[in-house]
Symmetry: C2
Subunit: 197 residues, 2 copies
DNA sequence: TACCTTCCTTAGCGAACAGTACAAAAAAGG
DNA sequence: CCTTTTTTGTACTGTTCGCTAAGGAAGGTA
C-alpha cells in the first residue's frame, strides 16, 4: 500500500510553520510565496498537500484551536465555579499571548481583522468562531446562575461580552508589546468586576 | 493667483471617503483601485493630490484623530477626576464604535492589525500612536494620584493598560457586531474595577 | 485672442499575487 | 523488468497590486 512517490517533507511540521506565519501576519498578510519559503516546500507541494491557501488556513485554525487555543474551553469546563473559570482563562491568556515561543496574541482574534472585500468569507468564518466562543462564555455564566452560585438577576450576556472584550483587548495589547506581567495585572483588575456573590 | 486648471473634486470629501474605506478594510485591505472608485477620481488625481497610498493613509489617520478619535483626549482633559474621565471615555467609545454612520470600531486600533512584512513601518507608526494614547491614560491616572484623588500606591501603568485593553476590546467587539447597548454594559462593568477611593 | 499652468483621461509599467501544466523522479504492484 | 501512482522542481499562467508617462482639456492671466 501507499502507492506512488512518498512526500519528502513533514506535513505536520509544515502546517506548524504555516500557523506561525498566519499568526504573525494574518490571512492576507501572508503570501503563498512566504508560506512555501517558511515551510521549505514548493508551491505545487503546498497545493497538493493542503488544497489552496484558504484550505490551509482553515486547517491551521482548526489545529490552533486544538492546541494553543484549547486552554479556554478546558478552563471553562474544569473549574468548579464560573468565577474561577474566567479567572483562569484570563490568567492563562496573559501567559499564552505573550509566550515568546510563538507570535503574540490570538490567531483567531487577530488574523482576519483587515481583509479586502474579496476575502469577506474568511473574515465571516472567523467572526463566527469568535461568536461561538462568546456563547461558551455566556453558557458558563448561565450554568452558575442556574446553580445558585450567581444572583438570579445576573446578566449572563453582558458578563460574557465583557470578558470576551477583555480577552480580545489582551490579544491586541500583547501584539503591541505588552508583557506577561502587564496582562496578568489586567486579568486581576478585570476580575474585580465579577458580581458579588 | 491659483494658476492653472482648478481641481474638479472636493479634496476634503475625497479624504472622507478614503477614511471610510481604510476604516472598514484596513491599510492593506484597501486597494488604490477601490480608493479611486469610492473617491470618484482617477489614480493620477489621487497621487497628485495626496502623494501616494501611504501619505493618503497618514492624512486619513491625522484627520481621524482630530474628529472621530478626539473624544478620548477631550474626555481626559475636561473631566474633573480620572474616574469620571475614564468612565466618559468608555461610555463614548461604546457609542462612537457602533455608530452606523461609519464603519465599526476604531481605525487606529484595527487598520493595521494584519499587514505583510513589507508594510511593517505603517504598523509600527500606528503602534506608536496607540502607545502615546496609553501614555495619556497613565498620565491622567498619575495626575489624580498626585492630587490625592487616588491612593498613593495606585499602579498607574497597570490601570492605564487595563482601560486601554478594554477600549481595544470594545473596538473589536463592535467590529464583530456588538450593539451600543452591549458595549455600554461593558463600560459599566469595566468601571467596577476602579480602585476604591 | 493667445498663452501658461495645472488637472484629467487613457493607457500601461514592472512586480507581486494565487494558482497550475508539465515532465522528471521515486516509490509500490504486477 | 515494466506499469502505475504520487510527489517533485521548473517554469509559467492570468490577475491585481501600487504607481506613472503622455497628451489633451480647462481654467486663469495677459
Amino acid at each position: 500500500m501507499a502507492r506512488g512517490r512518498p512526500r519528502t517533507f513533514d506535513r505536520a511540521a509544515a502546517l506548524r510553520q504555516a500557523t506561525m506565519l498566519f499568526w504573525q501576519y494574518g490571512y492576507e498578510g501572508t503570501s503563498v510565496a512566504e508560506l512555501t519559503k517558511r515551510m521549505g516546500i514548493n508551491a505545487p507541494s503546498l497545493y497538493s498537500a493542503f488544497g489552496d491557501k484558504r484550505a490551509l488556513f482553515d486547517e491551521v485554525v482548526e489545529t490552533y484551536g486544538q492546541s494553543f487555543g484549547s486552554f479556554v474551553a478546558v478552563a471553562l469546563q474544569e473549574e468548579a465555579t464560573a468565577r474561577e473559570a474566567f479567572a483562569r482563562v484570563l490568567r492563562e491568556a496573559a501567559a499564552v499571548y505573550t509566550d515568546p515561543e510563538h507570535p503574540a496574541g490570538c490567531l483567531v482574534i487577530s488574523a482576519t481583522t483587515n481583509v479586502s472585500p474579496k476575502d469577506d468569507d474568511v473574515a465571516d468564518a472567523m467572526r463566527e468562531l469568535r461568536r461561538s466562543n462568546l456563547d461558551g462564555f455566556r453558557e458558563r455564566v448561565e450554568t452558575d446562575v442556574a446553580a445558585g452560585r450567581l444572583p438570579a438577576g445576573t446578566d449572563a450576556h453582558a458578563l460574557a461580552v465583557y470578558y470576551a472584550t477583555v480577552v480580545q483587548g489582551m490579544s491586541q495589547q500583547a501584539r503591541d508589546g505588552a508583557s506577561a506581567a502587564d496582562l496578568a495585572a489586567v486579568a486581576e483588575l478585570a476580575m474585580a468586576s465579577w458580581p458579588a456573590g
